[in-house]
Symmetry: C2
Subunit: 189 residues, 2 copies
DNA sequence: CTACAACCGGACACAGATGTCCGGTCGGTC
DNA sequence: GACCGACCGGACATCTGTGTCCGGTTGTAG
């Protein structure tokens, strides 16, 4: 009868809400990383050791959860974009790193045409960040002159997707080689 | 009461079996092309105008259907590979063409590590075909010297996947540009 | 100590897909 | 022309995932 396990919170009143929320986010981050953003939400609540009810109370739908999980990553990309000391290679590097770490991030990068506006926003923000340093890279001769913003997005999408289709321990190697084949310099963080 | 439509065959005896089979294959080709090899099979039987029972009688499981649908495409690739007059660019061209025409073909190309042996066989066959003309292309200086068989597969996988994630009417343009970025010549059939 | 209100967990109703099973129907055969 | 057996279609049982709802628990206030 006494399930006094170390679960996030078998009801500790209002105070537990935050703990449950954090547990759900952590669980979702892991599950989405492995299976992409379409993974079953029931798996998330199970992994978090929390009831379905709590999941849906904190995050009414799947997108709410995705947004909460990846806001941080997208901001990290934007931070590099805003850094005047950074170069295009750094920007591509952090995006590639995110793709290596999480299958779901790839879904996000590709979602500039997604049906849901909140998801599209992520895709757009990453695209905008990537565009930031392209002119400077072109001016400095760091990349081929013919490279357009669109090309950059295509390249990122190709590399990111390739990475998600190989075993985890090969991802860094595959990503590096892919960028080499494309003739674009990248600096992985 | 009289459903005397032009359906493949509301039971014409043994003779209808072949007709139903053909209708199922055609339906599956369309549905797989659009939604990939994981599309619901119920959609296939519905589109074919045939009962679920008939579908499963002809093709006991999903893979049987996939194999039947794409055997032809894979053979076409192998035919080009066997043609001593063809060049690597032709080989990459036909594979790219198949990817443009069918999302499901991309699933196949990537399935050299799939759980099912029949699916793996497809991936392996395409990989083997691609490898056929690489030595000649290297000798003739048609591609960069550093290009390995593995690189070729990576490149194909990247381009093919990129293509499936854009609207149909952009696919040819995206595929062409992707190969350009990779610095590899392709001749689309 | 008791009553309250907020929050929790999981049962549940629902939806979509899979694969099976069986009554009905039609060509073939004698 | 009547029977037979093969084949057809779709209803159905099952499974997996989604989102809702409610009885139960627990911290807090009086």
């Amino acid at each position: 009868m006494g399930p006094t396990t170390t679960r996030p919170g078998r009801n500790l009143g209002p105070r537990a809400a935050a703990g449950n929320r954090a547990a759900l986010l952590a669980a979702a981050r892991e599950i989405f990383a492995q299976d992409g953003i379409r993974a079953p939400l029931s798996a998330v609540s199970r992994r978090a050791g929390v009831g379905q009810g709590s999941l849906y109370r904190h995050f009414p739908d799947r997108i709410d959860l995705v947004v909460a999980v990846f806001e941080e990553q997208v901001e990290a990309v934007e931070a590099v974009a805003a850094d005047r000391g950074a170069r295009l290679a750094d920007l591509l590097g952090i995006v590639t790193r995110n793709a290596i770490d999480s299958t779901a991030f790839v879904d996000l990068v590709r979602s500039s045409t997604a049906p849901d506006a909140r998801l599209r926003a992520f895709g757009t923000r990453v695209a905008a960040a990537l565009a930031t340093h392209l002119p400077a890279a072109l001016a400095a001769g760091e990349v081929r002159q013919e490279l357009s913003e669109r090309d950059l997005l295509l390249a990122v999408s190709m590399v990111a997707t390739a990475v998600t289709h190989v075993a985890e321990d090969e991802r860094v190697a595959v990503a590096s080689r892919a960028w080499e084949l494309l003739g674009i310099e990248v600096r992985l963080p």
